[in-house]
């Protein structure tokens, strides 16, 4: 198509990104690693998840390779919010890439305190709320195991935040669509749909779990279909809400798949750990797809998966 001005830029409801590719939490380092991560085509990045107090993280080993997957359990190792703001944030924002700060907690109070502290901080694009429960049980249930807890946390953070709040919802969450709807109603600006699922692997020779924390979370291409389905389900209920898709994006075509399912942008995790220029390659792949289809921007693909109507003879057999 002649005359099309092609761009990779996307607008997440007022947050402008130069590309729809975002470095997922835990892949952007501390700002001191320098060098190899190719940030040219990253539209944004998410910091590692930060808690109120420092955390040592999980015992060794923290990763295991599985078929097309990476099983990991880092256990939220981080220096705590104060040291993060003093030592890491200035370096991370110096890159000029919009930065979301990921926050994690063991209680509603911890999330609220973290979000409050971040309100006075300059130079961050938003808050991503990490919502995997690792805290103590509340009223018999593990914290964050139910939609009610998740929505409660996201609502409390959103109410006090002048920064956009993105709720990172695991696909393994019971009642994902209801939680998504609840988070948006409670004030979330957007959602990250996180395809990483709880998993475990066993070393059969040593008869030991492969990771020190016994079980972890599975990432990598193996989980992409989980992400696609969850994004599809949430996006068709909430078409006006910015959705970031995380889980299994490696190539430009993978990113396109998730945009077609309804994502506004995609997060890359395992791919960046293996190939520090994966985002640049993925950006080229998305541009190639847009060109091939004669489209102008990623927004033109968003949610455009065609679902055959019953009775047209197109449905699967």
């Amino acid at each position: 198509m002649a005359g099309v001005k092609r761009t990779l830029a996307v607008d997440l409801g007022g947050i402008a990104l130069s590309t729809p590719l975002v470095a997922a939490s835990g892949t952007f380092g501390t700002g001191r690693e320098g060098g190899l991560l190719d940030t040219r085509r990253l539209g944004a990045a998410v910091s590692r998840s930060i808690t109120l107090a420092p955390r040592k993280g999980a015992p060794s080993p923290r990763v295991a390779e599985t078929a097309s997957g990476l099983l990991w359990s880092v256990g939220l190792q981080n220096p705590g919010i104060d040291a993060f703001l003093a030592d890491e944030l200035p370096r991370l924002t110096r890159t000029g890439i919009p930065l979301f700060v990921s926050i994690a907690g063991s209680s509603l109070e911890e999330y609220v305190r973290l979000a409050s502290v971040l309100q006075d901080v300059q130079g961050i694009a938003g808050i991503e709320v990490y919502l995997r429960g690792e805290g103590e049980a509340q009223e018999g249930e593990p914290f964050l195991s139910s939609a009610e807890h998740v929505v409660g946390v996201v609502g409390a953070v959103s109410r006090l935040s002048r920064l956009p709040v993105v709720a990172k919802l695991p696909v393994s969450l019971a009642d994902l669509v209801e939680s998504a709807r609840g988070c948006v109603r409670a004030g979330a600006h957007g959602l990250t749909i996180d395809g990483s699922a709880p998993g475990m692997a066993i070393d059969t020779a040593r008869l030991r779990p492969e990771v020190g924390a016994i079980s972890g979370f599975l990432s990598g291409p193996a989980v992409r279909p989980f992400t696609v389905r969850a994004v599809f389900e949430v996006a068709r209920i909430l078409p006006e809400v910015p959705i970031l898709a995380a889980g299994g994006v490696w190539t430009g075509n993978d990113a396109v798949e998730l945009l077609l399912a309804g994502a506004w942008a995609v997060e890359m995790g395992t791919a960046l750990l293996v190939d520090p220029s994966a985002a640049t390659a993925a950006a080229d792949g998305i541009l190639g797809y847009l060109k091939h289809k004669g489209l102008a921007s990623p927004a033109d693909i968003r949610g455009r998966v065609r679902i055959p109507e019953p009775g047209t003879g197109e449905e699967a057999g």
Binding site: E33, A67, S68, T270, V274
Partner: protein
Amino acid sequence: MRRVRAEILSTRRVGVYHSLTLVAPEIAERARPGQFVGIAMPAGRSFLLRRFYFIHQASRRGGWAGTLEFAFEPDGVGAEWLGSARAHQFLDVMGPLGRPFAFPRRLTNCLLVAEGHGTAALTFLAQELRARGKRVDMIVGGATEEAVFKPIEVKRVSQTVAILTGDGSLGTKGRPVEALPEMAEHVGAEVVYAAGPRELLRAVAEFCREHRIPAQVAVEERMACGIGLCFACTVPVVRKDGSGYDNLRACVEGPVFNPARVLWDRWMADIPRMLPTPPGGSPVVGSWPG
């Protein structure tokens, strides 16, 4: 560190190991003993993560200038794929990664203890130490004769050598650590370096603490990125001031550590979560003599 597309110059079998020599001048120029490389696996396969191997040789001068050698056992799908690689094939290589061994400024007598592929890292160190006028003695070993990495080269780079194998097929029957007390006394070891399995490194740590000999060890821990981003490869290390410990990344804060500061029990325990956190008053240990 750099990321390059490097051509394989040659491949060969060395006992149970594969050894690959690459043309990678950007990495070879900067490589120091104790550092390692990360090799990407082929696209579109089910094994995703880079494989990380100690640098065995980095030639900066002469006819081999710009080449880099590393060695590995074909002990899994990725290493088997790499073992089937041929000359002139290109690899996606990151390196040199990690912090290298430090050289002692004043002390002279260096004892190097290695087991398995750890020997590949320490022969590189031996050369660099000798180039600085140090005396080098080595203890090396492996399960069998085939698992002792390049014993002839080991003899070439060190004053005296003790070789131990699990089955006694080469040298003395036993493990390298068993020769440590006698060898250390015999050669008057002032500094000890080690690379190999954790049991060896822990035993070296205990020996050196008891005898007040400064030491450095190169650890191995499972890695994902190799460049400090993911916090997968951490090792518990006591702070310099003794006020507790931190989980440090083997890829950027290591792989070389002062073994007196590594919390070996915590790192090696089958169920480390059961261990109590050490109290604030961890012992302050001597620093590297420099």
